[in-house]
Symmetry: C2
Subunit: 199 residues, 2 copies
């Protein structure tokens, strides 16, 4: 089903995007060619700049093109409270809430010995230096509630334990707007164990 | 929810793609940054080349970077049979069937007086010149079975009528694998009117 070498190349290139198969890739390519060449050119420029220039924040490891990301560089964020997340999108999800005023540390993954991802790969030594340097008072473990995420949280907890730092973990429970009948047993048991006085 | 100017720009740029909202755009940007910078760079190159170099085929109006598209340039396609479609993706859908050996004419739209799209915009004069030049024997009207598509088909039929050309239209009917109970009345009435001797 080849169209022309250039269009075929563009369709193939679109398939590197997550969740984009042959049909969506073809649709995207034809859409841009037909209706939005300007948008396509802008996307090309934004992509090439971002792929080259976006590095990691020197402090929290999240993506940024500057030396420090906006949050680490801000003087309105409390450097004594650090929230540990797995990925920049987890960070985004917490930022979206708009309530958190501390800083972050982005592991860019989780411990996974089978895939050769150990403490060094997720920057645990850098994290320890950071909490010592900033004299942190609280570390919020916000890794995902998966096997690997829990293991990573436990590992970090062990590293931090010896320091005089409050360790907290995000609460598990019934999601707001969720229904008990559709929640799994493990979630309900966490919700039960974590029940709180009704205000 | 800004991350860094470059990443924000990339996310905004991804939103020009069809079916991509804020969440998918963010996911795409972070995915490429995290796991496939090479793919992102390739996509950027393919995009910029395609947006600049892809033009229309001189003969059938479909997208190509050459003067003639692969089908028009091929000597294995019958130039005396022309299938009229609305878009390059319609052309692709027919090519996928792998049975058609004629050529195409791509209108790049349909007649739509309200949007200011008249016969000139969809290249009807070029189409008439083409069928005269190639001494066409059959014109297959494969515009979509929508109000505008039908109107466009009728308009082309009127233009071609005076010539000694067989005019055909794709059959309407129950889709293969479809169920009668889920078909709309108009489709069933077409299927009834177009019923054929059972071989």
């Amino acid at each position: 089903m080849s169209m022309s070498p250039l269009i075929d190349e563009l369709v193939a290139a679109f398939r590197c995007l997550p969740g984009v198969g042959q049909k969506s890739a073809l649709r995207m390519a034809l859409y841009l060619l037909e209706r939005d060449r300007e948008g396509g050119t802008k996307l090309s420029g934004a992509l090439s700049r971002a792929m080259v220039d976006v590095k990691r924040c020197q402090q929290c490891q999240t993506f940024t093109e500057a030396e420090l990301c906006g949050i680490c560089a801000s003087d309105r964020r409390d450097p004594k409270t650090v929230c540990v997340v797995e990925t920049p999108s987890d960070l985004q999800a917490i930022e979206q809430m708009g309530l958190y005023e501390g800083t972050y540390f982005v592991l860019m993954g989780h411990l996974s010995p089978l895939e050769g991802i150990g403490p060094e790969e997720i920057g645990i030594d850098r994290f320890c230096k950071l909490i010592d340097k900033n004299e942190c008072t609280e570390v919020i473990l916000a890794t995902n509630p998966t096997v690997e995420g829990e293991a990573t949280a436990h590992f970090i907890a062990d590293m931090v334990k010896s320091r005089n730092v409050l360790l907290t973990r995000l609460a598990h429970g019934i999601p707001v707007g969720g229904e008990l009948g559709y929640s799994d047993g493990s979630t309900i048991s966490h919700a039960f164990q974590g029940r709180r006085p009704f205000a």
